[in-house]
């Protein structure tokens, strides 16, 4: 309701400013009305989730460009415009008729176009595969027979790929072969409007099973990161945090009794928190530490990152007598998507998909620069040295002479008056 009201008010101001720009007789007023219009449009950009564009609309358009206009108007003294000329008066009704026709046609197109029915396009869910099954070797992953990840090694994750929402059958093959290690059904759901849903498929366990973690790629809160824990170990675990002081009295459970194949998303954690005081233990036992996150370079929360921590079981010295299973926590990083319409998102696109237009626009600005110089620079194409000297040297001497009261070029003589032709401005050289 409030939004509709704002739209109506600002929209009315925008149209009124545009009309006033057209009608006003003074070019300076016109420019000022146009600035008002630009400001209104900038406001709409904000309402339409385009904060970056709003900023450059004000800074570049309403600021720089319009100042240039005002500057030229004042430079030329052209603020008072001549009265409309008589010829071409027939253009007015024609323009009006054409405009009305255009408005009707686009109006029909826009309203009949039923814009709201087409979009917003729901982005297909993004899926990646994390390998947490210690004895599976390198795997290829297919969804309905279509390759979605190739050569995924143990403890690593593939890149996100889009996969249509709905039912799929996921199969894991040993890399490059047809040996099916695992085949499991998978149901993906579309994200609610205007968001992206992302999932990490975790293959884990001795006889590999598939676990699905909903991954959150939405922009994180200011200066924080996300952490999701997935248990790919063979028994339930607890996660404890002793606090940065390593004080046993501060020991608190972050999660408890996380079953194998289960995941939990923790609340946002401030950036640069390192997790060295954290440890996984067997469920119910505070002491039996399975794994300590004591490497601060690896286990750290960074800004705008969504981290998935997978506790995997890794076989040590497989096949020997000391064959044993131990728990290792593996971080899987993914970057949160930059916020819609923000400078980061625009910048990213500019330097990836829009590389060519960016370069072309740079060339275009270069051309404009050359053009402005060529058009306004008065170049003398056939300079004659003697003329140039005369133009510069004599008037200066003459000017000084008049100031001083005697001819400075002939210091010894008392010449009260300069010859009359010397006082005249010399003719311009171009002839």
């Amino acid at each position: 309701m409030m939004e509709a009201l704002l739209f109506l008010v600002v929209g009315a101001v925008a149209v009124a400013a545009a009309v006033m720009m057209l009608l006003s007789e003074n070019a300076v007023y016109s420019a000022l009305f146009l600035i008002i219009n630009f400001m209104c449009v900038a406001f709409f950009y904000l309402m339409l989730d385009a904060p970056f564009l709003m900023m450059i609309q004000i800074a570049v358009y309403a600021g720089a460009i319009m100042v240039l206009f005002l500057f030229v108007i004042m430079l030329l003294g052209a603020e008072k415009l001549g009265e409309p000329t008589r010829e071409f008066r027939w253009l007015a009704p024609l323009a009006l008729a054409l405009s009305v026709a255009f408005l009707v046609i686009t109006g029909i197109a826009i309203t009949q176009g039923q814009i709201d029915l087409q979009g917003p396009q729901t982005q297909p869910p993004l899926v990646r595969v994390a390998h947490a099954a210690s004895n599976a070797g390198t795997v290829d992953v297919y969804a309905d027979g279509q390759l979605i990840a190739e050569n995924v090694v143990f403890k690593e994750a593939s890149a996100f790929v889009p996969l249509a929402a709905g039912e799929h059958t996921v199969t894991l093959n040993a890399a490059g072969t047809d040996t099916v290690l695992l085949s499991a059904p998978l149901t993906l759901e579309n994200a609610p409007e205007r968001t992206v849903s992302a999932f990490t498929l975790v293959a884990y366990g001795d006889a590999p099973a598939i676990g699905l973690i909903p991954d959150n790629l939405e922009t994180t809160e200011d200066r924080s990161g996300r952490l999701t824990i997935f248990n790919a170990f063979d028994r339930p675990v607890d996660l404890w945090d002793m606090g940065s002081e390593f004080n046993p009295d501060d020991d608190r459970a972050v999660t408890s009794s996380l079953a194998p194949g289960a995941s939990v998303e923790l609340p946002a954690i401030p950036e640069n928190t390192d997790l060295r005081a954290w440890r996984f233990t067997e469920a119910g036992s505070k002491e039996a530490a399975l794994f300590r996150l004591n490497n601060p370079d690896v286990f750290r929360i960074r800004r705008d990152e969504a981290q998935v921590l997978v506790l995997v079981s890794e076989r040590v010295l497989a096949g020997t007598e000391q064959d044993l299973v131990r728990a290792v926590a593996v971080p899987l990083l993914s970057r949160a998507l930059p916020s819609f319409g923000g400078p980061q998102a625009v910048g990213e696109l500019l330097f990836t998909r829009y590389m060519l237009p960016l370069q072309l626009v740079a060339v275009l600005l270069l051309v404009a620069m050359i053009g402005a110089i060529v058009l306004t620079h008065k170049e003398d194409f056939r300079p004659r040295r003697r003329d140039v000297r005369r133009r510069v040297a004599k008037p200066l001497a003459a000017a000084i002479s008049t100031q001083v009261g005697r001819d400075v070029l002939q210091p010894g003589l008392e010449t009260p008056k300069l010859p009359p032709q010397e006082e005249e401005q010399p003719q311009p050289v171009a002839d």
Binding site: V15, I65, I110, I115, D116, Q121, Y354
Partner: protein, 100 residues
């Protein structure tokens, strides 16, 4: 919640006002400002559609339109200055050295 159509129709109105300015006003600077108004209207439509489709391509288009507009302004104003120097007038109806 304002519907996207409302924004697009507003942009069409602004576009028309700009087009009328180009057709009806005789002062080169004003004609030129009207062109800027038209470009702005198109930008508004692009941003509205970008919101509708929930993707940033529209925003990038607007970004480039703004840059191109800046280049155009530089050239246009240089031309106006050059013409004003030799004719002392920027009334485009007086551009008839050539009979058309």
């Amino acid at each position: 919640m304002v519907q996207i159509e409302a924004y697009v129709i507003l942009s069409a109105v602004l576009f028309i006002l700009g087009a009328m300015g180009v057709l009806l006003r005789r002062n080169a600077i004003l004609v030129f400002m009207s062109v800027e108004l038209m470009l702005n209207a198109a930008n508004l439509a692009l941003v509205a559609f970008a919101k509708q489709w929930n993707q940033m391509d529209g925003h990038l288009f607007v970004f480039f339109v703004m840059t191109v507009a800046a280049a155009e302004v530089a050239i246009g104003l240089a031309l106006i200055v050059a013409i004003f120097r030799s004719k002392r007038s920027i009334d485009i109806d007086q551009l008839h050295q050539m009979e058309g």
